[in-house]
């Protein structure tokens, strides 16, 4: 199963290498990893990991064991907001602009760059939404994709993902 794990870590040199090293050394499967600074000495990470319960239990424990990791929370079973950001460049001669603009509206994406040959779009959303967006664009000719991994936050309300 796919698990979303949030980490609060010391913003120290090597912390990223420690986490990446843990995953490679123990053969855990990491799908995405996003890192951002919270304050001068703390960073936030969201990991997306695949594995059965047994593996996920080890992943959580092993992360907790790292001296630089302050807090581990597996949010998969909670109500959480999960978001990713994607930038995608599609082949787009002027004649195709209306078609693509329509898709942009449907997905509530944004146009961030435009040229005679291409359009660059930005979309924030859950993983399935981003996948759907990219699938829809495929027939036009996707030239480049830059995608963050997921980031996640637990909701206080009872909303859905």
């Amino acid at each position: 199963m796919r698990h979303i794990i949030n980490l609060e870590v010391e913003n120290s040199a090597g912390v990223l290498a420690r986490i990446a090293g843990l995953f490679s050394a123990r053969g855990f499967n990491i799908e995405s990893l996003s890192v951002g600074k919270m304050d001068s000495d703390t960073a936030h990470m969201t990991l997306v990991v695949r594995g059965d319960d047994w593996i996920i239990e080890q992943v959580n424990k092993q992360l907790n064991k790292l001296v630089d990791v302050i807090h581990v929370s597996d949010v998969t079973e909670t109500h959480y907001v999960g978001r990713e950001l994607v930038l995608v460049k599609v082949y787009c001669p002027p004649s195709k602009r209306p078609d693509i603009s329509q898709l942009v509206n449907i997905f509530r994406a944004k146009v961030v760059d435009i040229s005679n040959r291409s359009m660059t779009l930005e979309l924030t959303g859950s993983e399935p939404k981003i996948n759907a967006f990219l699938d829809t664009l495929q027939p036009f000719g996707v030239q480049a994709i830059a995608r963050t991994g997921a980031i996640a936050m637990v909701r206080d309300s009872n909303g859905k993902n």
């Binding site: 090597g14 290498a17 047994w54 424990k61 907790n64 001296v67 302050i70």
Partner: protein, 573 residues
């Protein structure tokens, strides 16, 4: 105060009684300050010797072992020793010099990324990049090394940091928001454990190295006596339960006793304390202890449910947990179950054949007798290690020092040096194979020059015996590169007949000992064993005893890899 001086002050504040190491360009400032200090320094002949000695010191004393090496080759030379300590959860602080901060990343002379290299084999490591961080970092290193599940911590200290002025004082205490080991076991879990113990009819206690690090041997003995349960140990746990005791089942696993393995396979409850269910213990893991529920007590949550399913996990320091658990237990007797284990003991004792040659097992038994089991026994790796584990009959915690998890040949002798430094009044013996001893033989100089009266017993089978044993059993006697006596004049296909072997083994260990200024003895007949061993023990200073043994002698019983542990090969005996 300069950084280098602060390092000395830190060592003093931590009560460091011995430092093992080797100098070089990036630690020259520290060595300069050491000259003025009264911390005893042991200059080994190789950095690997220094780190194993620090490890032996830690295992024998229960204190943090400290080792100091220069950057680059000095640092890479301690890698094996760090991994050895990591696998066996031994508290070490390893200090390495590093090139000056402005050179880092430039492939400077003697620069290696030792933090990168050791990341997966340390409990934690640090590079100090700001002189003001030095005091806190050293404090944290000692704290992390010795607390929770102990382990090695490396601190990499660039040369300019050693030379810089440090204003911050050495802290008396430290708190790390991201590191807080759980010490006390959850009381609800303990109550559940107590109920499970009460219901069980065939309990077995399985004690490991965690009991040693937590100094909980007394508590284990109490537990066994309250609930009348037999005790088996892992290799790392040898000594925590006296092996002459009627409840002792001795070692479990691949080269464990038949009766320990049978008892675990029959048990309805396994109380696993400070163990991690290594594959050398479990054999085929889904056939391990098939009838047993498992209570697993360990300070490291990652050890629990890593290899086997557990009924009741308890996370906490073993001594603390057992002190809470033991009073919850009702005293009881298990006469039938103990009778059963007793029967297995009588039917399947450890044994060995009495051929004409000197039997290595006999040597171990004689050593145990001559020392009245009151010695610190180190081993190398291979058959020598397993025979020692099987036949010494350990009685005391911290009296058996061996590289269990990593299986590092060359560990035993330098570890003996550290142990002798930690315990100057104890008899320290290294039981070695002719292969392993040559991996750190250079430390004879260290032992002689520091007058450390270690006795090294080399069980010389002219072979890498344990590898030969595997080739013999599982590879149809297709021997490949296991003969340490082979030379260019040997026929391409050796007939394994010792009468056709080159006459002189290289090196001549007795002469080698003498060359180093140690004493050397040789045994090749059973009737010499007692006299020579007695003389060797009585001889002052380091002594090396070479014992000629038969290369065909193997370690039995043996569970082949991948088999369940009750399916043991018994060998010839």
């Amino acid at each position: 105060m300069k950084g280098a001086q602060l390092i000395i002050e830190a060592l003093k504040a931590e009560g460091v009684k011995a430092l093992f190491g080797y100098p070089g360009g990036t630690v020259i400032d520290i060595f300069d300050r050491l000259k003025e200090s009264d911390i005893p320094f042991y200059l080994t002949r190789h950095e690997q010797g220094a780190v194993h000695a620090a490890d032996g010191f830690a295992r024998a004393s229960g204190k943090v072992g400290v080792c100091l090496a220069t950057s680059g080759p000095g640092a890479t030379n301690v890698v094996t020793g760090i991994a050895t300590a990591h696998m066996d959860s031994i508290p070490l602080v390893v200090l390495t010099g590093q090139v000056a901060t402005h050179l880092i990343g430039n492939d400077a002379f003697q620069e290696v990324d030792i933090c990168g290299i050791t990341r997966s084999i340390t409990k934690h490591n640090f590079m100090v990049k700001d002189p003001e961080d030095l005091p806190r970092t050293l404090k944290a290193a000692f704290y992390i090394a010795r607390s929770g599940r102990p382990g090695p911590v490396l601190v990499d200290i660039p040369k300019d940091i050693q030379q810089a002025e440090v204003m911050a004082p050495y802290p008396e205490q430290i708190e790390l928001r991201s590191y807080r080991p759980t010490l006390k076991g959850n009381i609800q879990q303990l109550k559940k454990a107590a109920r499970l113990i009460e219901k069980s009819r065939k309990p077995v206690i399985f004690a490991g190295g965690g009991v040693v690090s937590s100094n909980a041997q007394e508590e284990i003995r109490q537990l066994s006596s309250i609930i009348d349960a037999p005790v088996t140990t892992s290799l790392m746990g040898l000594g925590v339960f006296p092996e002459q005791h009627s409840h002792a089942l001795k070692m479990l696993g691949m080269h464990g006793t038949e009766y320990a393995n049978y008892a675990v396979q029959e048990a309805d409850l396994l109380i696993a304390v400070g163990v991690r269910f290594d594959d050398r213990v479990t054999g085929k893991v889904d056939k391990f202890a098939p009838a047993a529920q498992i209570i697993h007590i360990d300070v490291d949550p990652t050890s629990i449910r890593k290899n086997v399913q557990v009924t009741i996990p308890v996370v906490g320091d073993i001594k603390t947990v057992l002190r809470d658990l033991n009073p919850l237990l009702k005293p009881r007797k298990n006469p039938e179950w103990l009778q059963q284990t007793q029967n297995w003991k009588q039917q399947h004792p450890l044994r060995y054949s009495q051929s004409g040659k000197v039997q290595p097992q006999y040597i171990i038994e004689r050593l145990a007798d001559l020392t009245r089991h009151d010695a610190i026994i180190c081993t190398e790796v291979g058959q020598n290690q397993m025979w020692t584990a099987q036949f010494f009959n350990f009685r005391h915690s911290r009296s058996f020092l061996t590289s269990g998890g990593l299986g590092t040949m060359g560990y035993g002798f330098p570890a003996a040096i550290g142990a002798q430094v930690a315990c100057p009044d104890k008899l320290v013996i290294d039981i070695a194979g002719d292969g392993s001893i040559q991996m750190n033989i250079q430390e004879l100089a260290t032992a002689v020059l520091h007058n450390l009266p270690i006795k090294v017993i080399i069980l010389n089978n002219h072979s890498l015996g344990m590898v030969r044993q595997w080739q013999s059993i599982f590879y149809d006697r297709r021997f490949s590169q296991i003969c340490l006596n082979r030379r260019t004049t040997c026929p391409p296909d050796c007939d394994q007949n010792p009468d056709h072997c080159p006459p002189a083994y290289v090196p001549n260990f007795v002469k080698l000992a003498e060359a180093y200024g140690a004493s050397g003895f040789f045994i090749d007949h059973n009737d010499q064993v007692n006299d020579v061993l007695e003389t060797a023990i009585a001889t002052p200073g380091p002594v090396l005893v070479e014992v000629a043994i038969d290369k065909e002698e193997n370690v039995y019983p043996m569970v082949p890899t991948g088999a369940p542990i009750h399916q043991m090969l018994r060998g010839m005996a």
